[in-house]
Assembly symmetry: C3
Homo-oligomer: 632 residues x 3
């Protein structure tokens, strides 16, 4: 009871309907309403359950009259308490200070709301992190610094209670502790915003506690790796950001590249997050409402993607009162091409985490260009590593930090990602070994990654969760095997068709420097708009031609369409001839600025775009460059 303020006018207390006898103060004045009149006096109701008797002979007062009375005595009588009233000096309606009296209940921390308290009245302070309108009561999810609980507010079924309250408000809930489908819940009697000073203190306490809870419980990694060790703090920060978003009731929006590496990344994080969501929310559909995973067609976060994501997020915010999501980009997000979309989302205050292994451009002080636009950036290049440490591996380690329980299910993912990305390094070897222990031979991994790519081609914008989970061995292993059989045979058939058309139309020249250059018009000599697409088709053609001569030979395959070209070359070309596709592109951009050349990738695998009208000039320049290469 906050009766500390002093008034110059007389004070008259007005009980909240929920007040009990123990909220009364003897000698003080209270407003009430007359509910019964007898010869010996009349009864005055002061709250829903508190009333007193003002004894007076043949009173003239009438039922329904309002009155100010003084509490003269509270005494036990037949096992309960009787309240005796007397007339106050202050008359009802006169100029006095009305002092609201809230029911005096014990302030309780959420963690102390145990079954022992069922049936008791409590006051809980905290922040609203979710408001759900059920068909029955309105459910407010409240957290304080100790835990999360739920308060039901009920008036009429389906009616939103306290429409003035919003997510993030700091409130005090009075109510009775009850059990609702096995969970502690407060049947709220009143929910009120706290005054500013109390609000601040509650917020601070919560923030500290949530921040602590958001820390990953275990930031170890699966393998020994210097690069990974250096990245651990960044991965831990990413894990914390994701855990924090879950605790804050923010949704998580995962975008990933639509290939085996990207899909392994996305599903690893998905597998880590979903159980936490189910645990932290009492919304049965939480895993659908608070987690979205979408493949991105392009190998970067496009403007097409960001405007769609923002549109949905802003609608969810306006329509359902949801907070803006945490954006998590996997196997995407590090490059210059991601800048536009990430700047765009930043304008709307979207927090973002990037876990990628694509070349992020020049690194200075452990930061690259994109660091200006994202909140957490994990990329091996930032610590001296390179793209051989796949996004899939990083995301699996991240998933383990988010939710250590998930580790056993996804230990073979990094090996799938590595094989899918043709990655080779010491880390990859360790991951392959782990997969081997789990029964995945290198050929198995190749089949899985091929089938994931194959399926992703047909799924387009759909994440295909159910199918992908089966393909990656998260469900029935027997069904996985059957599915691999079906998809591999179909993939092989389609690759054969493309090769049958393409191989006879490859033109091969041998340069004086020893380089064998294979050229192909991949739009004319392969089926369009089908699997495998030009990039993959070029890869298959190149692999076939290299097989004939040997991996150690300097062989390059350049396939083009009207306004693009795809390059694949053996490692020798990079190592012995010091070739780097990205440098060649820079050179052409300078020499032929009007060709609008763009693109890049790894040193010996990537693509170029150019305007159709200057195709021949661009390709000629490129070939000239290759011709002039000199063996070290």
């Amino acid at each position: 009871m906050s009766k500390t303020t002093t008034y110059t006018k007389p004070m008259v207390y007005v009980l909240n309907p929920s007040c009990q006898i123990e909220d009364l103060e003897i000698g003080s004045d209270y407003e009430g309403v007359i509910t019964r009149v007898e010869k010996y006096g009349f009864f005055v109701s002061l709250s829903k359950s508190v009333y007193g008797l003002l004894r007076t002979r043949n009173p003239k007062e009438k039922v329904g009259d309002k009155i100010v009375v003084k509490i003269s005595e509270i005494k036990p009588h037949k096992g309960k308490m009787d309240v005796d009233l007397s007339y106050s000096k202050t008359r009802y309606g006169n100029d006095y200070e009305k002092v609201p009296v809230k029911r005096s209940v014990k302030k309780t921390k959420v963690k102390d709301l145990t079954e022992d308290l069922i049936g008791r009245n409590v006051a809980v302070q905290g922040e609203i992190i979710q408001i759900q309108q059920t068909s029955g009561p309105t459910i407010f999810t409240l957290r304080d610094e100790t835990d999360i609980t739920w308060a039901a507010a009920f008036n009429e079924p389906g009616v939103r209670m306290y429409p003035e309250l919003e997510v993030e408000d700091v409130v005090e809930i009075l109510g009775e502790v009850s059990l609702h489908s096995g969970k502690i819940q407060i049947e709220s009697e009143s929910i009120e915003k706290l005054p500013e000073d109390e609000e601040e203190a509650v917020r601070r306490a919560i923030d500290m506690a949530v921040d602590k809870k958001a820390e990953s419980p275990d930031t170890s990694v699966m393998i020994e790796s210097e690069v990974l060790d250096k990245l651990r703090p960044k991965l831990a920060a990413a894990a914390k950001a994701i855990r924090r978003a879950i605790l804050d009731g923010r949704s998580i929006l995962v975008r990933h590249h639509a290939d085996a590496d990207g899909i392994c990344s996305g599903i690893a994080v998905e597998q880590a997050v979903l159980p936490l969501l189910r645990e932290e929310s009492n919304d049965a559909d939480a895993e659908w409402h608070f987690f979205k995973r979408s493949p991105s067609k392009a190998p970067f976060y496009e403007l097409e993607d960001v405007v769609k994501d923002l549109s949905f997020a802003l609608e969810d915010q306006e329509r359902h009162g949801q907070k803006l999501p945490l954006l998590v980009l996997l196997d995407n997000g590090s490059t210059e091409e991601d800048v536009a979309a990430l700047r765009h989302s930043k304008v709307f205050g979207v927090e973002s985490v990037v876990v990628d292994h694509h070349y992020p451009g020049e690194v200075e002080d452990g930061r690259s260009l994109i660091d200006d636009y994202v909140d957490i950036h994990v990329n091996p290049y930032l610590v001296g590593g390179d793209s051989q440490l796949t996004a899939g591996a990083l995301a699996v380690e991240l998933a383990g930090m988010i939710n250590p329980d998930v580790r056993d299910k996804i230990r073979h993912f990094p090996a799938i990602a590595a094989v899918g990305d043709h990655a080779e390094c010491d880390e990859v070897d360790q991951y392959l070994e782990i997969a081997e222990e789990l029964g995945y031979s290198r050929e198995d991994l190749d089949r899985v990654s091929t089938c994931v790519d194959f399926e992703a081609y047909f799924l387009r914008f759909n994440n295909g969760r159910g199918i992908m989970n089966t393909l990656l061995g998260l469900e029935d292993r027997e069904r996985q095997e059957e599915l691999l059989d079906v998809l591999m045979s179909e993939s092989d058939k389609r690759v054969d068709t493309q090769l049958k058309a393409a191989l006879p139309n490859v033109e091969t020249v041998y340069f004086d420097n020893g380089i064998q250059l294979n050229r192909l018009d991949v739009e004319k000599y392969a089926h369009k708009f089908t699997y495998p697409a030009p990039g993959k088709t070029t890869g298959y053609v190149h692999d076939k031609l290299v097989q004939e001569k040997g991996e150690d030979k300097p062989i390059m395959t350049l396939a083009n369409g009207p306004d693009f070209a795809v390059l694949r070359a053996t490692e020798t070309i990079k190592n012995d001839f010091d070739f780097n596709l990205n440098n060649v592109i820079t050179k052409i951009q300078e020499e032929l600025p009007q060709a609008g050349v763009d693109g890049g990738g790894h040193e010996v695998a990537g693509s170029l775009k150019f305007v159709e009208g200057l195709r021949d000039e661009v390709l000629d320049l490129f070939i000239e460059d290759v011709k002039d290469l000199k063996r070290d």
Copy 2:
């Protein structure tokens, strides 16, 4: 109580379960059921709450027996009324006329349902305009000629009550006035369709009242303009049609062109309609259920669009009992190309409003071709104006008539639309001045319209409400500025890329008549499937080339792809050479019918389509025509 009809058989009244003692008539016969038998007589229930005592010694009747009794007396007893019964001459089950008795309650107009009536029983007649099944009761939205109210019908939670009732039925609702989340609501006891004659009268009264309420409260416009003055009656009619749809519980489907002009149009109407929807409906999601806004890729209402719109509307009708929507086309809808889609929607009885400024073809008696297929058509050409008065300006004036409160928020929209559409006229100058007062310089407007176009390109079929509202300055102005910065720099970068490829490949010829013709293969010398698209790219190229020589020179830019061409020319070409793209197209259609030439636009800005195989013939004819132009 309708006891006026006369019968030859004896009449026996049967009380409706809700009847009260005041519904009884002394001396008349009633059916009842025996509910208690005592030595001194038995009690007969006549309705849920009405019963009487038939005094007789040691009665032989049994509980549960049905019986016909006469009301002999109704007298006060201990603060309530006692009903005394006697045996009737008519025996239960004999051949008599059963006369149902409804509870006699005061017929009340909806506007008179005030808080004073809470707890009272009323009868309200009106038309059902919406039926919602909540998790609790079924809610019927009812309107009479005075206002709208809601009646809750409750049996078991989630069960649809009165499944025989449908939207548009005219009914009488009996029930108690109550308060539901602060709104007056009727707790219905019974809802029954009115007989045909009463129905007719109610419908007429409602129709007149709603029609009156649908009138715009203020049809003034923002600027002085003869054309606008002439269009005011049409705009007022459009505003009324939209207001009427809201009052009728019909949804509103806005389709608009996906450029700055069209988007300003769409959002202006959206801003006007949403507050009215929130006000008129008790459905918290009304603004999502009853309003849809979609950009149309093409500059007309396509068959692709109409079949999608109709499919959804017909499904909503069948599945959710919704009425067909009012179709509102903005910056679209006036031309011959819109005929097919609008005829299509007309077959299904869809009402439509078109507000457009594209050339509608020949105007006769203030009507053009499309007037045969739409209900209200607003277009400056119909009253002697032209396309310089943008759809954005018209739609903003319309929005102000729909909901005058919205005017202050969208006063700068016409200026954005004008700059986006390169419109110039006296009206535009006034709108620019208004924008200037609101802090939007011409450069600001240009940035906004460019960014709206840029964003629309990536949003595709999504209306991007949240993003667009920010871009147009309806939300946080600071965030608007940040977003403009991000998008402008990105737009500039992409325009530069296109120009760098295109400009060196422009071929310029100078004809004897002084015209400079710039030609460009925009598919070969610009990136495809990216922003800016060919039309915009051509515009940027043209502007660049005109800048070099001066706006007053006769300069024309003709860019083509394999089966299309885009034209931009300086005003001089139109004014001094009397050039009109639409006429040239007609001429080519005649001379080369097999080329399938189509297209058009403004006099000196537009596009052509043709079959690929006759590209050279078409372009040659075109150029020949330009060559032969003579300066006036």
Copy 3:
């Protein structure tokens, strides 16, 4: 009460809370809890409503103590039964065998749950086939071998009761028979899984009964046809599979070719299934939740389609507990090209029915290739028929077997399908006659099928149910006529435009063998990405040219784009020159393996795909082949 098992330890019964006095056995021991203590003894509660008095002077027992008591007597007292208890030899908590006692209620078959039983307690055993969480109770749909019923389980509004129970569990429901919106429903008191042996018996009984109920009530067909007679058993099996899916609460997913034949097929089955769904389910939205119909762009079930279908089905399974759907492919599904998708769906255990008339490849023992991957395959070729018996006809006959009531509505569909597919045979004549009787002349049918195709082009992936129903005459016939007018005039206009461009560019050569070959570059000399598309355009061109010379002349039209060609030829070419497109394709595949030729169709109508770079070689080979044809 199952007290048959013998124990060596003492047995103490524990009543289920719902037990009644009649569940007690005199002389046996029961666990209870002391609820009142008086001087003359204490009361022991044995279940929610059963208690007894153990008389003893000044007992020392306390309220709340648990105790084992013996039932010594049950005797009537003041209109109810009194239970007298005595101390048991077994003390509470000692080592005894607890024997749970369920309330003894009459086991009742679902079909016997009539209104006579309202208010009575029953026990019903059966399989859960659906679980719905309403805003109020959880509703379990239960079936036994006699019928389907619903049980409501209620605790708090919106809370899922018995979360451990899943669809397909076999349970016993105890509860009171009640009426809920006119339907019998059980207000459940308890729902428990049956032990394994009882479960087995219930399952068997249900399976037999449902299987019987799934049989089509009438497998007659509309016309006389040997082929149809041979297919009747297969059609009946398909009808049964679909009826069984409805009875099993599985959804039905119809995929059909997006032309008039396929759409007639799909809508015929839709019209048959929807009324059954409404009847069998108490979910008002059943027809939307349990039935989906989608057109497939390609003339086969594509991988794009199957991955989308599977993704949604697996999500529905995980998220909403739905069973996997029954897949029904209509006018699609029989060919080699369907194998990949059908194998894919098979891996996930999806049951499938194919009703198609496309050539299924070699037939052996009444089976073709696809029979290995589908559960039921209906195709005229399997019984010696051919594609002249359309899928539309087969699907209409199937629809009649699924639901005989639908026959009268769709009797004209086979004629529409036949005209749309240019089918001609004795069966078609009979169907045309039936349509004639219903007022559809051949010209009417042609208009309908043309408009269905036209509309399907614009609807793309949307099934356009409302529009198509109108077009096919299932709704307002007057509106059908109006719609046909609008669409025909629009279709004619667009065909004219294509013909105007194409016809002057057709090159005709006359070979020595008398064949007239018309060639057209349909990408260069017709508008792209518009209606009619290349295949249809070629058809219109061919028809036009044949009209000039006569149907009996050997005329062939070969239209090509960069990587495809379309063929149309007169029947004479097939009959007199023994030409078969499929054979020519096989030949080219052998001679030009690198061209990646694929395709096929009917003997004189179909298409080829090839890689762009070998177009001339492919077409030359083709023409060479035509040139060398010899008249028989």
